[in-house]
């Protein structure tokens, strides 16, 4: 019995430090592995995004408009990656704010006109809010396609009971009463859609003055 204890104690004395070292080096190794993995994730992200864009920019450096679009798109993507709250990744466009930003980004990419989106407040995306987002997207698309402007401003204020959005350009403007009937975008996708969902859209425009479309919708109390 006494022998056994002596043997155990002796073993602990001899092997203890070795075990401790092993355990410590394992935890170091684990920390190093985690760090390495994080670094690899960042490297992979930069490779897939920034480096690809830089390569594209080099091959298309003579096309100024294309370079600007590529740079804008990359900037937006990187910014989203750097600054977005972790919970915003739970589902794409699941808040009104992210849906509007997404729409602005898509229109900008599609038509190559920079859109400066400023969004105040946020809320859950329900059917009415979705209608406003769609109408806002159409308003931005119209501005990008017809206004011949260098920049579009989107401003949206999201409150608990209502959302108001403004799409503004400094382009050619138009006479709202003289819009040809085949321009269904304004009539159906913006004015009609807002009316169907109990909201309203107001067009402020005159030839040469640019255009501002104001969209307003009351939200249903949750």
């Amino acid at each position: 019995m006494a022998h056994a204890i002596v043997i155990v104690v002796a073993f602990m004395v001899v092997a203890g430090p070795w075990f401790l070292r092993l355990a410590r080096s394992l935890s170091f190794e684990r920390a190093a592995r985690i760090r390495e993995q994080e670094r690899a994730d960042v490297a992979a992200h930069l490779h897939d995004s920034v480096l690809q864009t830089l390569a594209l920019i080099q091959t298309r450096s003579s096309d100024g408009a294309a370079v600007a679009t590529l740079a804008r798109r990359q900037e937006r993507a990187l910014r989203r990656w750097l600054f977005e709250r972790p919970d915003a990744h739970s589902g794409e466009g699941d808040t009104i704010g992210t849906a509007l930003e997404l729409a602005a980004g898509e229109v900008e990419e599609l038509h190559g006109v920079p859109i400066e989106a400023v969004i105040v407040g946020d809320g859950r995306l329900d059917m009415r809010a979705e209608a406003l987002v769609q109408a806002t997207r159409e308003a931005m698309t119209n501005a990008a396609k017809f206004a011949r402007c260098e920049r579009i401003d989107l401003y949206a204020e999201i409150e608990a009971t209502r959302i108001v959005a403004f799409v503004r350009d400094r382009g050619v403007g138009f006479d709202a009463d003289a819009v040809p009937s085949d321009r269904r975008g304004l009539r159906d996708s913006i004015l009609g859609r807002m009316r169907r969902h109990g909201g309203r859209a107001t067009v402020h425009s005159a030839p040469g003055e640019g255009t501002e479309i104001e969209l307003l919708i009351e939200l249903q109390p949750a």
């Binding site: 400023v118 105040v120 946020d122 809320g123 401003d153 401003y155 999201i158 400094r170 501002e212």
Partner: protein, 248 residues
């Protein structure tokens, strides 16, 4: 160099810099003179680009790529305006303002950044910057913003107007300085128009007030932003976005 850093002194500097009615507006001799500018940014390429874009509307007297160099350059040249990158190693633009403003309260700062993070931008404004523009601004617009800041006005880009509206969106905080913690209806209207992409002149027309009054409103908002007792203004704004998601 060994500028006093105590809060009291910094605040005095702020209050002077934040006075809405800056006296130099009516000094006609001032209008012809080009503002003297120091450009502070840790990217050499960007500094060179800014110098080129600004052309001859302003006079760039120095540039700097680090906080220490920036402080030295500003103390040496005492410029009218410092064009200041928000993000830099060693404390960023905020650190430059903290070290310079107490000793040189007449120097004005215009923050410039690609950053979207409201907290970073609000921090620089609260430290004493008189405006914030994003780096995507055109050369002509940037030159105009610099002239405006040199004349004592505040310059709000649409993005900054959005940040500020977000920060002040709710009613008064429980603090005793209630009047500093709220925007007036007019101030809110002006900020909303800036966020919508309108220029001061257009805002004046739409609200049927003078351009001077628009400027006074913006300066008043700047002052509230800098002096409000809401010390956690930015964090609070971010929380608000989160809180709102749980419904009204």
């Amino acid at each position: 160099m060994s500028a006093p850093r105590s809060d009291g002194v910094a605040r005095q500097g702020l209050e002077r810099a934040g006075t809405p009615e800056a006296p130099c507006r009516d000094a006609t001799s001032h209008i012809d003179a080009k503002p003297r500018v120091v450009v502070v940014d840790d990217h050499g390429l960007f500094r060179a680009g800014v110098r080129a874009e600004l052309g001859d509307r302003v006079s760039v007297v120095a540039d700097a790529g680090t906080v220490a160099d920036a402080v030295r350059a500003i103390e040496r040249t005492t410029p009218d305006v410092v064009l200041l990158d928000v993000h830099m190693p060693d404390g960023g633009g905020v650190e430059v303002i903290r070290r310079v403003l107490p000793a040189l309260p007449a120097v004005r700062f215009l923050a410039l950044s690609v950053s979207d993070a409201a907290s970073d931008v609000i921090t620089v404004i609260r430290a004493g910057a008189r405006g914030y523009v994003t780096k995507t601004i055109s050369g002509a617009e940037l030159a105009e913003a610099i002239v405006r800041v040199a004349e004592g006005d505040a310059v709000f880009s649409p993005r900054l107007a959005g940040f500020v509206l977000d920060a002040f969106a709710r009613g008064p905080s429980p603090g005793e300085q209630a009047e500093l913690d709220q925007l007036t209806t007019r101030e809110r209207e002006v900020l909303q128009h800036i966020a919508r992409g309108y220029m001061y002149k257009e805002i004046a027309q739409r609200l049927e007030i003078s351009v001077k009054t628009v400027e006074a409103h913006v300066s008043a908002v700047l002052r509230k932003l800098q002096l409000s007792s809401r010390h956690e203004l930015s964090r609070w704004a971010i929380q608000r976005r989160l809180v709102n998601l749980d419904g009204p």
